[in-house]
Symmetry: C2
Subunit: 228 residues, 2 copies
Amino acid sequence: MLDRNHRANHRERSLLSKTGFMRALSPSALARLLDSAHITALPARATIFREGEPAMAFYALLSGYVRLYRVSRDGRQADIRICGPGDIFAECLIYGGDIYRFNAQAAENVSLARFDMQDVRELAEQDPTVSKAIMATLSDHLLSTMDCVVNDRLHTAPQRVADYLLTRCPSDNGPASIRLPYQKSLLAGMLGLAPEALSRAFSSLRRTGVTVRGRVIQIGDVEALKEI
Amino acid sequence: MLDRNHRANHRERSLLSKTGFMRALSPSALARLLDSAHITALPARATIFREGEPAMAFYALLSGYVRLYRVSRDGRQADIRICGPGDIFAECLIYGGDIYRFNAQAAENVSLARFDMQDVRELAEQDPTVSKAIMATLSDHLLSTMDCVVNDRLHTAPQRVADYLLTRCPSDNGPASIRLPYQKSLLAGMLGLAPEALSRAFSSLRRTGVTVRGRVIQIGDVEALKEI
DNA sequence: GGCCCGATTTGACGTCGATCAAACCGGGCC
DNA sequence: GGCCCGGTTTGATCGACGTCAAATCGGGCC
């Protein structure tokens, strides 16, 4: 499973220390955490961990995208979260159980940092900035997962897509252009849609001035999208 | 909005200290927390807080049930979580923002304890058992919200109902009987269904040996339910 | 610039669950 | 015990989305 595995070098330490999780750590906690990190590169589609395995570590993503998902008895998959550069994942198991509760898979070539849960538990015990960072990250993930439930239950496919576009729109009026950082099938999964449904949602947004060319999405009028 | 408001008496302190959140606190932190609690009783349908209001406090539920939900632009509601006795809610805002992100409403007569966020932040700073309790609770809520997303995306209404029944089934084989602790419309909301859909799900489970009489649900064979 | 393959789109269809309206039930009350 | 009312069930209908299959696109590579 491991393609390359080494301690964090200067560039990687710098990337990691800029993440939301580590930005507010005390210098000493940050140093200890970075010293404990193992950096790994994995090819697209590689499995990082599987549901049910003992949860020894959590991860921070340096580059690429990772899919957290669960599989039903009949083999269908549902994405729980898509992680991008700077995100951490499986941190909910630091104090939440000893077994992974979902699968993690590289959606493309990724580079990630691995942290031993037990080490971090000890660090949190000694340094309150670590606990605070964990609590802030957990809260953030909880709130966005709640958003996800509400979105699924209240909004149709075109509304969810409009919502997605609006949240990554630089300006909040006039025209705009967005480039998706990943394949549309990944976006479909994160919105809880089949790829075909995402495609149809985009085409139903054409009447609202949205044009799609590959990964580039042109929005005629941001205000109009808000009305959907 | 406040019907009755006082400091926790002996019985209430005892109830609170048995909750998952407070069970593992150090004696001194527990005492300080209980001293800071305000107990309130509210009638059914009362609003506890509204989305958008400044988040000054989080809550622990002593008795009754509370509905956390959001409302769409066109007035439809989606439940995010149903809290029961011993649950705490809105704790995701201790380190997660300064505004309530959903509405909280008493589903029936409730009694609840109110804790000032700022007080608890200070307590957590000084006593690591408090941070640990917060992290454990956040992790728990995050994991169950993830379960909720996956359930919505992978399971049909009868499957979700079967799932619900199985998780509160005392035994794991043979016949069993369950009494719902709340109205069916509340259960419908927590499963992400309209009340009519819940009713139809129950009636489709009749062929699997499930009978419903008011709030009492008889399960002919628990094993059979697992097959759904 | 053209080729090729996997990703995306389009079409046709079926199923699930929301919605509205009407009938029904059960539990609290007198 | 009977009445009443809110909660629940049932029926009919509809729209949204999943699935399968076939056509098309786009981006990387030579």
